[in-house]
Symmetry: D2
Subunit: 364 residues, 4 copies
């Protein structure tokens, strides 16, 4: 029996977010510890935020909506935080656990099944993917929305868009000029891209994958604007590390890059270095290859990062697996309705994870 | 006066590594807390490891060698750990602090200077880049080498190579077949690549940059072999997040990807999912797009990741900056001898950071 | 607005226990993170344990019993832990929040009211004492009972008794001979003392206080047996510090001492030092003034400590207070039914807190 | 081989203090992480503070003085903190490790020897008590002195006195009226008591113990004045728990109590509750049985606590022990010069530990 790693399901030393639950447990939820007392929790805003990640919000928006309504059971009195931890619970009403026992021994390719089986000695909750389910991003989004409210009070906005899906690319943020207004506009879109004309092409890629019983992934680009210079720090306190740790908590993320990122490896120093200039009393850089982070510390320029999202591992196509009991090969068909592309729904998750990371980086 | 962020200079809940010092302080060093007692510290091995990151080890290997010799001042008795934290100190003997005061107010593009100025209200140690200097990776390598020793006792090997420099690419690891033996061979190379024939081309890129008073960056690929399935966990305990946090502690890293990484965003799920099969009693996957990590947990396949290294920001070319006092534009020429490419020296740093992350992920 | 302190409502790096809720919130509860997977949660045992702290369990045992039934909403599948955090929720069904607004501005002497008002700028949940209520020990006991189950699997038993109430003393544990069997017997008692003859005298003290509209406190003595030598450590990792931190989480605890404790200040070194001898292959000490802890590390002898419990601050007597709005003196009478002595109910809380501390101290 | 506990040698999430070294290692020292940048380190004040714990400062003040001079090797530039961790090293120049091997197998009663042997499998540094030595309080005092400087800038003073030695009692602090001025006066005394007339009696007790080849302990009382109401919090964030954890890091502490402490167990609630009144605009209490802490939160009244110090375990009298190799009884005489009472030297250690705890409790 392997002993668990420390701090598994919590993040943050200042605003500590703990997430609990499994896909088909009675509930999932989050405990947010360290919020200032007297903060008004804007449930409307939180609901709107959480709806952006809800399943089937455009075409199939009825059936499962109720199941994602968070209920605050502690920490809030008359709409304001009281200093005790805020616990929000989301009931898992629409669970059909069915015959998951087969799955226990025939792990789905691309899923956590096999790795979790080994970690937990077969005791993990296999129903709906257990704590590895994308469903766990619902409490993440709740916690992120609360943190985002705190950030907004400090003039900091976070917004993301689909940078590409299966090779079809949106334009990128203008890393110098991206503004809170632009982020707000994008977050209001049903399909969050900068160039709306690209959305149909992206949707066509998704639809094609669905028709092929397959799935596609993509890249999400996120911007943080309004962050004063001076947040973060050297070595293990760097912003990149803190943001990465939070972003990789989202299932399906397999890469992250800041500013020019991997492309910086193709540039000369003289190209990659961003020149300083004074815009009034404020120091800015002419370009923003550094993605708003220098030496792990915010520079005052927009923080820009991109996260790679792998194609949904659940596909209707038959796949090769094994039976862990009999040690034989086994063909597997993953049943049920699955998103052929989770990138659109992952957009608010990226924003939420970034918000949790950044509120914990801030100095004051 | 901004208050500092928590846990700035330490990482790990199990083997906690704290790094202290600045480039031109009297010393830099590390405290490693939580090592098992009775462990023999192999100083020869550690020295060899640290020499891989030493400045000028090939052509200019004499002058500064001494300054990187770590002195263990606590925690080790007769060559064995005694249970008290191991503190290793590296004296900064060869510091020429000179006239850094100019630099304080004219920040170098691509460096932490401006961001640190804002964070610390101008109190940061500007000499040699202070705690933002690449020199801080010397104690990181010491700590990593100690962790690597622990990992090796458990049959886990870590090794990296230069995957590309300024667009010139080495072949990648065979993500399925990469072995401890291969990693050992590469780590013994003066220029750590898989295909030795590529090394001259890479060196030519570096030399060209040097001649142009410029610099180049690249990508480092790292493999961890021998890791049992079951390490890591869901959400905030995932391996990707833990490794990223450590890797981004290395100055100049601007991106990281695991397995297929950003390329997964171009693939269909049916391409990206790795099929399971039994190799004797061991479950393996036919390909390794998942980079040895499923659901944040090790799958037993090699862990594969790549880190993007930006071009050295210190270049001899004149650059545009500002004077923070006068709020005017100012041209800047960074003096001194600087590596036109730090990618080769960053290879052991990536291994060291990975070792620190992984020893803290292990279950037992 | 004061910013909250880190790690407020959680403890433990290995088995992390987070407690949430307020006395009159919708619910109180706990998230236990880091439990090994596959552990059978013995709900009967947990219920029996929690009943020991239930209000009015002897004479008034009906009315509020239901409200303390914990409901596990995550982390347990078919009675076994699955590796995800265990979240248990206790509904606050029997809350009569009534007119607490008066209390907000007229703080009760001996309570957290005034201090919390200042900390939270008046936003704290004043109903029933909010998160400062003794009610918060219900989830503490749940978490402690789960940890105790883990400890028992390792042969470690924890048990406490009322050492004194308002000057009426029980005998103390024989610090050398106290056994798991003795602890089990005491925990089964309706009034947990060693010498049953003393219980009537203690009850008489409580009754007298009740008749006088007053309250009394006492001392609880706790023993941990079966702990192998070698747990804990020097400096900040000492057992005394870890146990103290947990025990002081119980409202009303104002002191703690280990082994001879404060009496050691009256002894000569030659009296206080415990001689070693071999009992078969096991090293023991002839006396146990060190309370089973030497240099912060378990010696293998029973761990013995005593916690001082102040008299219940809620008394029916009229008391002098102030009105925080008018800045005038104000007489206050605390209404409602209150325990004239919480020492008996605090006994399992002490055991629970000790269990949480000790499971986090253990090496493996 | 037991695995070490997490966070062994560090404390604090805001100002993190890590202590390293062993009594006879090359050095002992501390890393202080999280200090604000630009803070002037007053080395004179720190030296004066550390001299209060120096061995033999009154009668035998020559020989070992040099060995306790801390050398700051990082984090300070031109006398000011630069934002990087402050590392201070104290060389162990005067070590005579001699024949400690005998001690390894014949543990000294009252010392950590046996427990450490079991924890570390015999690998612990037995020379001079290793990391369990009272010598480790030298870096503790350094770190405490730095924290105290920060506290003083906020108007917070900490001071302690010898409340009793072997039954000879000083008067106690007036828990309501104790002032920064009084604390300053006491800290300037060669023998820190309130009533100077008692000091000769205490010294006589110590001298008597010395003549008898024995030792005595005592109680130290500490006051913190100037702390605003609102620091600390409920449950695991309580001030008592945080202070206790730090105080128990001092070897030889076996108990702690706040305010009325254990005596509260003899009082009625109506006696123990402290009435509120307005002193101008400030809420105060008429008495201070609560020791300045209500519900784990500072009330604005002086924080008062007492720590029990056991008699020095090193005594010249022959004692009964065992030989761990032969499993036979063995008589032991502890050689060397030892303090017959460490209470006077522990006074600044208590202040230092309290300072570290309190700086980490403060909200801002």
């Amino acid at each position: 029996m392997l002993w668990e790693v420390q701090q598994m399901y919590s993040i943050g030393d200042k605003i500590r977010v703990t997430i609990f639950g499994q896909s088909h447990a009675e509930a999932i939820g989050t405990v947010i510890d360290g919020l200032p007392a007297g903060m008004e929790i804007n449930m409307d805003k939180i609901s709107r935020f959480m709806q952006r990640r809800m399943p089937g919000k455009n075409r199939y928006s009825t059936a499962r909506k109720e199941s994602d309504v968070p209920e605050i059971i502690s920490g809030v009195v008359n709409g304001k935080t009281c200093g005790a931890p805020v616990c929000a619970v989301i009931k898992n009403s629409d669970t059909k656990s069915g015959d998951y026992d087969n799955l226990r021994y025939v792990p789905r390719p691309g899923h956590a099944d096999y790795a979790a089986y080994m970690k937990y000695g077969g005791n993990n909750d296999i129903r709906g993917g257990g704590q590895f389910s994308g469903r766990m991003t619902a409490p993440l989004c709740f916690a992120g929305a609360v943190c985002m409210q705190l950030l907004e009070e400090k003039g900091i906005s976070i917004g993301a868009h689909i940078e590409r899906i299966h090779g079809v690319c949106d334009e990128r943020f203008d890393a110098v000029k991206v503004s809170a207004e632009q982020l707000k506009i994008i977050s209001g879109k049903e399909f969050p891209v900068i160039s709306d004309e690209i959305s149909e092409k992206m949707k066509a890629e998704i639809e094609k994958a669905r028709m092929d019983c397959d799935s596609v992934g993509g890249i999400i680009e996120c911007a943080v604007v309004g962050l004063e210079p001076g947040a973060g720090g050297a070595l293990f306190s760097g912003m990149e590390g803190a943001i990465s740790k939070a972003i990789f908590a989202i299932p399906a993320v397999k890469g992250i890059e800041f500013g020019a990122g991997f492309e910086a490896s193709e540039m000369y120093g003289s190209e990659n270095n961003d020149s300083f200039y004074f815009d009034g009393d404020t120091v800015k850089t002419t370009a923003n290859n550094h993605g708003g982070i220098l030496g792990g510390i915010s520079s005052g320029m927009p923080v820009i990062f991109r996260a790679a999202i792998k194609p949904t591992p659940s596909i209707a196509k038959e796949q090769q697996s094994v039976d862990l009991r009999t040690k034989t090969a086994e063909m597997l068909t993953v049943k049920g309705r699955h998103d052929p592309c989770i990138v659109p729904r992952a957009v608010p998750c990226v924003e939420a994870a970034a918000a949790i990371a950044i509120i914990n980086i801030l100095g004051e």
